[in-house]
């Protein structure tokens, strides 16, 4: 960082980057706090992002930080509205990189229909690391709409919005020196959620499929609901490239993280319409019905394998590292 340990010159420079990239009427006021119009029920969340490398195939830390918070809000059924962002920059961060990241956040915010209305930056000693925290608010629909991991019922179906493992695979490929065209699937999912709600789909539970993978999320749903969920392995979409990478590194797509995929548990009779809602979005083209809630041992997640057997899935233990064994 050419401007050393902070001070007016640094904050001016940084401020000008953010002001330019995140340009909106609320931020332009440059007050200590953003004042925004409200609603009766607010969803509120925060998350921090420390991924390396900062730029990867299909995205960057900025895009991730917007999508991550937007998606957490969307998964509660809220329409994401306003985000804040806090940056912690280590000395050595390139201004060009910062500008690229800010531009990426601005574009992603636009795509997701949210405004970044407040922010903060701190510069510390270090070797060029960059960390972002985003917090977000969204407004829930009128009435007493609620989703919960404990709401799954018999005959409900499980929908997955697209292919598994892409983000984790993209990051790992870079680290392990394997060449491919796998891209992180980092994407905002509020559009899919809005479509489901607009169509009046009875959604019981929703979650984006991040760290821990699909199996971790659905295992939690089964446990919280006291139900048995059965998935069909041959219905779960995974690209050939990701499958190939998993074969090389000994990984299981069911336990790999995504950054732009979601599961929704909906009433059985809504399965076709819910699938159509997902597929309307550019981020839901590969959506599929992957399983259903069946009578069975409470709190179990089962997989009907390609070989025709049954496997009981637990949540992720450990880190899902590549293996040779």
């Amino acid at each position: 960082m050419a401007h050393g340990s902070g001070g007016k010159a640094t904050s001016d420079l940084i401020g000008s980057i953010f002001a330019r990239c995140f340009d909106n009427p609320i931020l332009a006021k440059m007050e200590d706090a953003a004042v925004v119009p409200g609603a009766a029920r607010i969803a509120f969340t925060t998350d921090s992002f420390v991924v390396t490398p900062l730029f990867f195939q299909g995205g960057d830390i900025g895009k991730l930080s917007v999508c991550g918070t937007v998606n957490d809000l969307a998964m509660s059924g809220a329409t994401p509205m306003y985000l804040t962002c806090g940056f912690i920059l280590e000395e050595g961060v390139e201004m060009d990189d910062l500008e690229k990241i800010a531009k990426s956040m601005a574009q992603t915010a636009k795509d997701a229909g949210v405004m970044i209305v407040a922010g903060d930056t701190k510069v510390i000693e270090g070797k060029g690391g960059l960390y972002i925290n985003t917090a977000g608010v969204g407004f829930l629909p009128e009435g007493d709409f609620e989703v919960s991991s404990s709401f799954c019922r018999d005959t409900d179906v499980i929908l997955l919005s697209g292919t598994l493992g892409d983000h984790h695979a993209a990051i790992l490929s870079a680290r392990m020196g394997i060449t491919n065209t796998i891209e992180s699937d980092c994407a905002p999912l509020q559009g899919i959620v809005a479509e489901l709600l607009k169509e009046g789909i009875k959604v019981r539970a929703m979650r984006d499929v991040t760290r821990g993978g699909l199996a971790t999320v659905l295992h939690e749903f089964a446990a919280a609901s006291g139900k048995c969920i059965l998935l069909q392995e041959d219905q779960i979409p995974v690209t050939a490239q990701v499958r190939g990478l998993c074969g090389i590194l000994g990984l299981d797509p069911l336990y790999m993280g995504n950054e732009g995929k979601m599961v929704a548990v909906v009433a059985g009779q809504d399965r076709e319409r819910a699938l159509a809602c997902m597929r309307k979005s550019p981020f839901g083209q590969m959506a599929a019905v992957i399983g259903e809630v069946i009578p069975g041992e409470a709190g179990t997640l089962l997989l009907h394998t390609r070989t025709g057997g049954t496997r009981s899935l637990s949540e992720l233990y450990g880190e899902g590292l590549p293996r040779i064994c």
Binding site: I178, Q241, I248, I324
Partner: protein, 70 residues
């Protein structure tokens, strides 16, 4: 203890070969077998262990026949 996967040889350079697995490419060690571009190979930990036959079906037929005789 032996995660290994079949892939396709794209090119050979000395004792290394670029092997493709459904769009993933690695630069594998080729010192243990004799390979040429187009070969189907079994790769473990970045090293080619064996050249695989093109006609898998023939092997499966033989296999089933052996099981039949049991």
């Amino acid at each position: 203890m032996c995660v290994a996967l079949p892939g396709r040889v794209i090119s050979v350079q000395g004792r290394k070969a670029v092997v493709d697995f459904s769009g993933n490419q690695i630069n594998a060690e080729a010192g243990l077998v004799s390979v040429k571009p187009g070969d189907s190979v079994l790769v473990h930990a970045g090293c080619i262990l064996q050249v695989l036959p093109e006609d898998e079906a023939k092997f499966m037929t033989e296999l089933f026949a052996e099981l039949e005789n049991l």
